[in-house]
């Protein structure tokens, strides 16, 4: 199991400063979300760098998932989001995705009528699919590309820990844990640079949890910026460089895992006395 060097405090606190490992990938400024009269998220501010994992934790209904929706512009929000130095407040969800900002959903999310392999192939579709014209006029090129997409998809699935015997199944027939992984695969696809992952560990246990942790760390090593929502404290504490704690929409703590873990407000609101 890989051990992670804990981040230094100033790295955590220096919001605008770049980390040693890479550029500021995603920066979020004063983002708030309201559902009708109900405020789900207030003034969220953080940044995450390439090669870094930021954890977001907090009680149920604290606004964690809402923050993902807000950052990817799929709910109405206020505040500002910057991706690699470029302000992207007006970019649509799909545009953000094309720029490399992707998210996974808390609920498993894939294409139920496609096989597992086809799901993975679909994730390469944006970058590698053939246009209608090409497909019609040069079918042989399309066939070649499809084969290569199939190979990459297979490799990706295996890399993420979905063995080949599952590839021809429909996603709904997979065990729950693998459905989670597949959800990540589909969103991750190719060309993602900043990945927002919503509770990948939900329902994943034992060995699979270790695989998941390794996977996330590997992505980070490859230079990807990750934001991780998770209730599984072992996982969070193990792999996150920094942790942000939300409670009722407000940020109540933000810092190195060890620090956050000791924070009395966090203990009170979230962790309870056991940990």
């Amino acid at each position: 199991m890989t051990s992670v060097t804990p981040s230094t405090p100033e790295q955590v606190m220096g919001d605008e400063r770049k980390s040693k490992s890479g550029a500021v990938a995603l920066s979020v400024e004063g983002v708030s979300v309201k559902y009708g009269a109900f405020t789900a998220l207030t003034d969220l501010t953080f940044h995450v760098d390439d090669g870094e994992i930021l954890g977001i934790i907090g009680p149920n209904g604290a606004g964690k998932s809402s923050s993902f929706a807000a950052i990817t512009n799929s709910v109405k929000r206020s505040g500002s989001v910057t991706l690699y130095g470029e302000e992207v407040d007006r970019a649509s969800t799909q545009r953000l995705s094309r720029l490399g900002l992707r998210r996974t959903f808390q609920q498993n999310s894939f294409f139920a009528e496609l096989t597992v392999l086809e799901n993975a192939m679909a994730s390469f579709q944006l970058a590698e699919g053939s246009s209608l014209l090409k497909s019609t006029l040069t079918p042989w090129v399309e066939a070649r590309q499809r084969e290569s997409r199939r190979a990459s998809a297979k490799a990706l699935l295996i890399e993420f820990g979905i063995p080949e015997r599952y590839h021809a199944m429909q996603p709904d027939d997979l065990p729950h844990g693998l459905q989670r992984v597949l959800s990540i695969v589909v969103s991750y696809g190719s060309g993602s640079r900043v990945l927002l992952v919503d509770e990948p560990g939900a329902g994943v246990g034992g060995e699979d949890m270790k695989d998941l942790a390794e996977l996330l760390v590997r992505l980070k090593r490859q230079g990807m910026a990750l934001v991780l929502i998770e209730h599984h404290m072992d996982l969070v504490m193990e792999i996150c460089d920094r942790i942000l704690v939300l409670d009722r929409g407000a940020t109540i703590a933000h810092g190195a895992p060890a620090m956050v873990q000791r924070d009395p407000a966090v203990l009170e609101a979230y962790l309870g006395k056991t940990t």
Binding site: S74, Q94, R102, F111, L126, S130, L132
Partner: protein
Amino acid sequence: MKSLLSNPVVRIVGAVAAIVLALFLPQLLGGGNKIYTTFALIAIFAIMSYGMDIILSDLGEVSLGQTVFWAAGAYTTALLVIKLQWDPLLSLVAAIAVSMAIAIVLGLITIRTREFVFSLVTYASAIIAMAIVTNVELFGGSDGLVGMPVLEIGPYNAGSAQNFYPVALISVVLVIYAVARFRRSRLGLTARMTHMNPELTTTMGFDVRKTRAIVFMISAPASALAGWLYAFQRSYVGPDLLDQFFLLLMLTAVILPGKRILFGPLIATAILVIQQQHFSFGGDVDKIVLGGVLAVVLLTSKDGLAGWFRGIASARRKRRDEPAPAAPASVN
């Protein structure tokens, strides 16, 4: 067997052989006007249905306005050819252009609608189109347009049923090819993805609405091509093109064989047209027969006729999979 079929050379040779066979099939069946007409109608109605097939199978929506494109193709052709003596091929280009223009407008209108609302809005477009063609003098009112000349493509005169059929056959081959390639293209897969999970598709970087509008738009030319052919084949273009008759034909052609079966609409139209042309028992009994067949197929199989065949095939396979008696060791 499987590897043989996936060999591109074998597939191309097979396809060419099938087309040649299809070309001579009416003659093998005894020729005659009626046989040729039956074959031409199968081709025309199949082409018409492929437009619907894309919407229904790939986009997952039930468009009840698909007859508009088919009627637009036929009316455009008739108007240009009868009133302005245009060349048939030019009128085809115009027919496709007009249908696509209508599709763009409808696509924009329906862009936010899904499921029933989509169906109803598209149906509304058919009702309105019907009101327009039956009331505007230009379109010949409820009488429609008569006086279509015979189809001539360059030096080729497709006036007789026998000469018309190859034109229809080539058209249907092209359309089937186009549909197959569409399903292999990025657009084709995205269409399915938007249907299955629009949120996920969005987060994967696709514009769901744009995809839907584009697919809607490219479904129009097939139906318009069919309208063009039918205008010449029938020599009469009337408001009945917008009737439920053709709408139900399209729907049945797509759903009866099972969705997303490449040759499904062709096979189903063949069944329907042959029944109408050769085994008709009069309207009332025909209704019971058609309704009965449809009901039985769809009630007993999730995927229409294809489901039946899959069922039979898997039953066979199971029998084959049963341990065979040990073969006697052969001596080299």
